[in-house]
């Protein structure tokens, strides 16, 4: 199977007052139809800039794509004209953002905003577009869609707005959805609803999802392939089970250990010393070496930046001190066989054993 989207050594730079920064450095990633690929990392690691660069949504200047290719079905998006690119955005690739309040226009009704994209991409009449929009709201589980279409964003709650964003993004049946922190601003019970909805819609439409998040729980339950980003590079890439069972990169390892988990009552949390480096002054060599406890003082780590190397059939890590194959065929990475959507139980569990005797029979 060939990938739907192939990111090949993408590098992006920004010119700032303090100098040039490179928030995305030789990032390579393949996304196959129907697959969910997650990019995880802490703030400033470059995951959102990667996502925006795919759609060429970074402001240029100050931003600049330094090199690489982004192939959608073999067609390089980076070489398209702005006019051709507008055909891709919203139609082949749609995007939803973290903050549903700021990404919806407050002065237009929900209906106006959804139908605008539908009329543009599908060339249908106004009446048909409203019917498609109504169906789109219905698909994302919004009750009474006809009335809701006439409402404005401020009349809705955060969860409802995120549903509207999803409806809008999916109204033109995109093949790839880029979801940038789609549930970060939402409460856990609403987050569960939204992720459930995304999984359902993905199954029905065989849509691929690039999920950008910092939440390892969200990654574990939703992605098949995970790329871990640190200081503008992918430092580890693997199928989700491999990654969670055997993290190879010391940063990934540290990240997993420092997350408090339900039911884990140890007194102290593991930590990663220091802070994420400032992109204006990235450390030399491996960018993680000042915080790394694996090989303190190793000259190779200090001077030479490691590249991704294959450590087992579907696991890559960028560290000088992981055992791997001698010479690795690294890019582009093929993880197409990773398509196991894990079963997160959808039916409600039986709560009655909790109830008082009189309610149990």
């Amino acid at each position: 199977m060939s990938p739907l989207l192939e990111i090949d050594k993408l590098s992006v730079a920004f010119d700032t007052e303090q100098g040039r920064i490179v928030p995305v450095n030789e990032v390579s990633l393949n996304i196959y139809p129907g697959q969910t690929v997650a990019l995880v990392g802490e703030s400033g690691c470059g995951k959102s800039v990667t996502a925006l660069s795919i759609l060429r949504l970074i402001p240029q200047p100050p931003g600049r794509i330094l090199g690489g290719r982004v192939l959608l079905d073999g067609r390089d998006l980076l070489s398209l004209s702005e006019r051709q690119m507008r055909q891709v955005r919203g139609k082949d690739i749609a995007m939803i953002f973290q903050e549903p309040m700021t990404s919806l226009n407050p002065v237009f009704s929900i209906g106006d905003q959804i139908t605008e994209a539908v009329m543009l991409h599908q060339g249908v009449s106004r009446g048909q577009a409203w019917r498609i929009a109504e169906q789109a709201l219905d698909d994302v589980g919004i009750a009474d869609p006809r009335r809701r279409l006439r409402e404005y964003p401020h009349q809705m709650s955060g969860g409802m707005r995120q549903r509207v964003m999803i409806a809008m993004a999916l109204s033109c049946q995109p093949r790839l959805l880029i979801a940038d922190e789609p549930t970060t601003a939402l409460d856990v019970t609403i987050q569960a609803q939204i992720l459930e909805l995304l999984r359902d819609l993905q199954r029905q439409r065989n849509m691929a999802i690039l999920l950008i998040t910092h939440d390892l729980g969200v990654v574990a339950e939703n992605a098949e392939v995970v790329g871990v980003m640190y200081a503008s590079r992918i430092v580890e890439l693997a199928g989700v089970e491999d990654l969670f069972d055997h993290p190879r990169h010391p940063y990934t390892e540290g990240l997993f250990r420092s997350v408090p988990k339900l039911g884990n009552l140890s007194e102290r949390l593991a930590t990663i010393a220091g802070t994420v480096p400032n992109p204006v002054h990235f450390p030399s060599g491996c960018k993680f070496h000042p915080r790394c406890d694996r090989m303190q003082g190793d000259a190779t780590c200090r001077d030479v930046e490691p590249t991704l190397r294959q450590v087992c059939p579907c696991h890559w890590a960028a560290c000088h001190h992981v055992q791997g194959y001698a010479q690795a065929p690294v890019t582009p990475v093929d993880l197409s066989h990773r398509r196991v959507t894990q079963a997160v139980a959808t039916e409600q569990p039986d709560l009655l054993p909790l109830a008082k005797q009189e309610y149990r029979s």
Partner: protein, 363 residues
């Protein structure tokens, strides 16, 4: 409608002599004003009858989703927002009755750490002045002594004392939160309200701050009211946990007990909704329908009844006369009549001593 007095026996392991902070039936109602004459058209009952104790050197975790009133509880009990009812006792003294000058003295020992380390530090003040201001205001030290105190506080929270002359924008989120903690520590408090202290931070920084707060508690016997929405963080950090829903506590127990055997269907749903960092999840998930209702129009009876999976399941076994049809999130559901009509009291459940929950159905 009368509500039975909540049982306030502390959970085992949490109990010691008198509590440091005693909150009883705390209420904070915000008026909704309408029209030209700002007529009061109703109230948002942000906090509606909350009771708990915080013991010296211990942590009470307060969890709930946005809008449940957890932040308002923290601010009301520090008298940063006027209360509409109830009482707060600090070391046996009624905090709502003490006159201003005395309140000011008491505030020394009660501090607060905020969620947003950007907006809670004055951008025009140096770090040294931010931390030194309370020291000066409360006349603890001045001049050189003050600077030494500031330096030792900075060292204690893991920052270089030379940072005292810098400004907040020069620091990262985690460092700013350390500054916020140093400021709270400046007056050697016995009680700190931590309002979502780590939710704005990255995971690797979050654990550093949690460990710091933990160490400080042990060193200085500080009591925390730890307000957060992240259930795993609260479990890790708290001795006792209270779960809030729409301005009320719906369940309270020792942390071990609450997480091992939650009794309230809302707590159960909340716990099941936390995504597990494990690709092969063990837990079954309950996906709640609908959203948290507005506190200006809370549902009748038990405020959780329109979303409650337990009442829904119990209604299937009950006599038709004991059930009632309701509309929730666009669907018609049948729930128990009692849940829709009467507010359940916070009562002892069949579990450990001190495990209370407000639910008609659960045992």
């Amino acid at each position: 409608m009368s509500v039975a007095a909540p049982s306030l026996q502390a959970a085992p392991g949490v109990r010691d002599s008198a509590p440091l902070v005693r909150v009883r039936d705390l209420k904070t109602h915000f008026p909704i004003r309408r029209g030209v004459f700002s007529r009061i058209a109703g109230y948002v009952k942000a906090v509606d009858g909350v009771s708990f104790d915080v013991h010296a050197g211990k942590t009470l975790g307060l969890v709930g989703e946005s809008g449940c009133g957890k932040t308002t509880v923290g601010r009301t009990l520090l008298r940063l927002i006027p209360a509409s009812g109830g009482s707060v006792e600090y070391r046996g003294q009624d905090l709502f009755a003490v006159p201003r000058p005395q309140l000011r003295r008491m505030r020394r020992s009660m501090q607060v750490i905020f969620q947003d380390p950007v907006s809670s530090l004055n951008p025009r003040m140096t770090i040294g002045n931010i931390i030194g201001e309370p020291i000066q205001v409360h006349q603890i030290a001045r001049g050189k002594d003050r600077d030494e105190l500031v330096a030792s506080l900075l060292r204690r929270v893991g920052l270089d004392p030379a940072y005292a002359s810098r400004y907040p924008h020069e620091f990262s989120g985690g460092q700013r939160q350390r500054i916020g903690i140093a400021r709270a520590l400046a007056l050697s408090p016995e009680f700190i309200v931590c309002d979502e202290p780590v939710s704005a931070l990255d995971v690797s920084i979050q654990s550093q701050i949690l460990n710091l707060l933990n160490d400080l508690q042990r060193e200085r016997n500080i009591a925390y009211l730890f307000i957060a929405h992240n259930l795993a963080v609260v479990e890790h950090f708290s001795d006792e946990v209270a779960v809030m829903y729409l301005g009320r506590i719906v369940e309270r127990a020792s942390a071990t007990d609450l997480y091992a055997s939650p009794k309230h269907p809302y707590t159960i749903s909340l716990l099941s909704a936390v995504p597990e960092p494990d690709p092969r999840p063990q837990r079954q998930r309950i996906v709640l329908g609908g959203e948290v209702p507005s506190p200006s129009h809370p549902p009748s009876g038990c405020p959780f009844h329109p979303r409650c999976p337990l009442s829904l399941q119990a209604a299937k076994n009950a006599n038709a006369k004991d059930t009632v049809e309701i509309e929730s999130a666009g669907a018609r559901l049948r729930v128990l009549r009692i849940c829709q009509q009467q507010m359940p009291p916070l009562e002892q459940k069949k579990a450990q001593v001190g495990h209370v929950a407000a639910c008609w159905v659960s045992q």
